[in-house]
């Protein structure tokens, strides 16, 4: 965004300190707007007609460097772009790049159904909630408008996920658009040859569009032309190439575009970027399964980290998706808010005085992992969450944030000893070296659990049943 100081923003706020926005003062609200932790519409007063001018001005001042574009409608709509920084530590990255998976208009019905359902229903538990996939990209391989329209219809009937309609043939695109015109799909793509025809479609259907050219001069010119025509919901495709020097140039084009937009203020390219890891299969087709997985994964890593705002995939093997969704989540986690949970004593299932007492740290990932392992294995137990400044077990043992003194404090504060009659505490395997000193400090018997809580069920069989 263009402004850096809360004062610049404050000047346009009502200045009544009415607290409606949840902040004590307008000034406090202004700093929340700057770091993008609150949105302008929370200030009720400024929505009043009398502040129309100020509102417009603020909207413009606060708009992100990279345009934010919405694809799809309703709950499943995705936000693309809207980024403000080149490095996540400078603020945070905002909108996780939606992951789109392809189907084609020459696939048979069964394959389309399987792929679409798989993508729509995919989920993976992580840090307290589920990671999911976001979009379906429909490629026209037939180049036949009728076939394409049929395929779009099929997919539309199968899923609520937002769609990308892919063809360089405007007639094909139009046939698809007719089917889903009220769903706000993304059109892929206008290129050097077809852009006028595609522009007519975009104007008619009022949907966002991808501009494609691996030549950055041409890409910027296309973008400028579309903006000039009044169409500014644009996504840029600077071309994804799978290997060698072409891969190098791909990586560099993504970086150049984003740097130019954010650091050099080049408005012509201040749009989201689409990456196409699916293109890996142009070279890996026919190679063995693992090679195919790897070539698409390399593009996924490069384009997730360096500035892809929307990615299109071909490979739906579960072992290919698994690391990709974690990388995306990690890179788009807000570095300003350490992922931590409240410390305390928690009941897992319905524990009684004979149930084990486990200990972990308040790093959110650790906590949720242990919790879900205990619960999904029906292990009735107490979980003591110690405040380690939100650092995981291994690092906090090494760094001293988890120590016997802290453990003792937590046991006293939560009256954990009174809940159990065996006076035994189970430390995580990665905190084994604290076991002696923790026994001394707390006067409890200390057992060392497994290094991964996924093995607690097995550990219970070997170490707890016999004991109880």
């Amino acid at each position: 965004m263009k402004v850096q100081s809360p004062l610049e923003v404050y000047n346009y706020l009502p200045g009544t300190n009415c607290k409606e926005c949840g902040e004590e003062t307008c000034m406090a609200f202004a700093s929340k707007l700057i770091d993008r932790s609150k949105s302008l519409d929370l200030c009720k007063e400024i929505l009043d007609d009398s502040y129309k001018e100020e509102y417009e001005k603020l909207k413009e001042m606060l708009s992100p460097e990279i345009k934010e574009i919405i694809i799809g409608i309703g709950d499943k709509a995705v936000h693309v772009g809207g980024e403000d920084v080149l490095y996540r530590h400078q603020l945070t990255f905002y909108n996780q790049p939606p992951f789109a998976y392809d189907v084609t208009d020459v696939m048979d019905e069964k394959e389309i159904t399987e792929r679409v359902n798989f993508v729509s229903n995919y989920k993976k538990f992580y840090v307290g909630s589920f990671l999911r996939l976001d979009m379906i990209a429909i490629r026209s391989v037939s180049d036949d408008p009728k076939k394409f329209a049929e395929c779009v219809k099929k997919v539309k009937d199968l899923t609520e996920l937002p769609l990308i309609l892919m063809s360089f043939n405007p007639d094909v695109l139009e046939a698809g658009l007719e089917v889903v015109k009220d769903k706000r799909p993304l059109v892929y793509a206008a290129n050097e040859d077809n852009w006028q025809k595609v522009a007519e479609l975009i104007d008619k259907y009022k949907v966002p569009v991808v501009l494609f050219s691996p030549d950055l001069d041409k890409l910027a010119s296309l973008a400028k032309t579309f903006v000039e025509m009044g169409m500014n919901e644009l996504i840029l495709d600077p071309g994804t190439y799978p290997s060698g020097k072409q891969l190098m140039s791909t990586f560099e084009r993504f970086i150049k575009l984003r740097r130019s937009a954010i650091k050099d203020g080049n408005k012509d390219v201040a749009f989201p970027i689409i990456g196409i890891p699916a293109i890996a299969s142009l070279v890996s087709k026919g190679k063995d399964e693992l090679e195919q997985a790897i070539s698409e994964s390399i593009l996924t890593i490069l384009e997730t980290i360096k500035y892809g705002d929307l990615l299109v995939f071909h490979n739906i093997a579960p072992y290919v998706i698994l690391p990709a969704i974690h990388l995306r989540f990690n890179i788009y986690t807000d570095p300003r808010s350490p992922v931590r949970v409240e410390p305390g004593l928690f009941e897992m299932g319905t524990p009684d005085e004979n149930s084990p007492l486990f200990l972990t740290t308040n790093f959110a990932l650790t906590y949720f992992t242990v919790k879900s392992d205990l619960e999904s294995n029906n292990i009735n137990s107490y979980l003591l969450v110690v405040d380690s400044d939100g650092i995981c077990v291994e690092a906090s043992v090494a760094g001293g944030q988890l120590n016997p003194g802290k453990i003792k404090e937590a046991i006293e504060a939560t009256k954990a000893k009174e809940k159990i009659k065996h006076n035994t505490l189970v430390l995580p395997g990665l905190a084994a070296r604290l076991s002696g000193s923790t026994e001394d400090e707390t006067g409890m018997k200390v057992l060392v659990g497994p290094t991964d809580s996924g093995r607690i069920a097995k550990w219970m069989e070997d170490h707890w049943q016999t004991k109880a």
Partner: protein, 392 residues
Amino acid sequence: MDKMTQLLKLLENTDTIELNEFRMDFEELELNIMPAIQQVVQTAQRQAQQAEIVREAILAEEFKPPIYNYPGEVAEVQLGAGTRKPVFLGGQKALYRFEEPQPNPPVVTFDVFDIPMPGLPRPIREHFEDVMEHPGDWAKKAVKDFGANMVTIHLIGTGPKVMDKTPQQAAAAIEEVLQAVDVPIVIGGSGNPEKDPEVLEKAAEVAEGERCLIASANKDMDWERIGNAAKKYGHNILSWTQLDMNNQRELNRKLLKVVEMPRDRIVMDPTTAALGYGLDYAYTNMERIRLAALGGDDELNFPMSSGTTNAWGAREAWMKESPMPEDSEWGTRDFRGPLWEIYTGLPLALAGVNLFMMMHPLSVRVLKETTQALLGMIEGEKVDISNWIKEV
């Protein structure tokens, strides 16, 4: 074509009609098709109100590649001397290749242990099962069969709770590895803060003059003694801190000021957390360190090393299947493991890491190939993507 046919032709395609093509003599037209004409006119007018489709693309200004100057540069460190073929790390003067040619592509050092390591994940064990009894053979296999640039000998067996091997026994393992291969080596302890200084000191002594990387000096143990040993016997030192750039700066400063380690003999390990288990902290910490180095911070401008092997600690890398019944299938773990290592290493390469400690032969190959491709060192298969939509 008569006017009528022309018009009908136009009508077929009213959606894409262009205003400037719509020039005809209305008077000549039959009345009975007037409604259709009106529709065409309306469509055309509507389009005219909304947008004028221009005929020629408007040229943007020539795209200026965003190239910057950096006041600082990363020190260049030589690993290996004496009977070793040397390898160089660091020397970067810019963030990206398109700004300034990048010297010294990333280097991979294979993990080798002084004991057979029954706990290693199966996808790794299966490659080394036959050599695990002998660190020399293990090292040889890593170099000969899997193209290791370097080898790390981890003296795990010296851990009091592992096998409590003596420093002399550790020294024997090192001599074995030095005999077996001629690549530079990294010497790692067991992580025991009481014993490591003694073990690493002895190790440094037997490898005198080979310019190894001693891993590591960290604030948890007697870093001064370890640093002094590295300095005295002509080695490099690995400065290891836990995900904290300020601590890293502080430890580097101590090595520079107290140990008086030369600037070209320090490598940093700012800690690698696996994908899904804190990779975001590791990534950002390293990215910030590299930006600081290029920005002129002379207490952080050393090459970086990553313990990428940590990726194998992630349950997604090694567990047979998800312990969560609600999860979708995870897929075969034979593939998940190496991919997890790639997904941990490659992001950190983008953050600036110069040396990777890794375990799986496939991950090693992919990491090397990809980082070299990004530096323009691999020609690769050229493809035309102008029609990719149909060809994928």
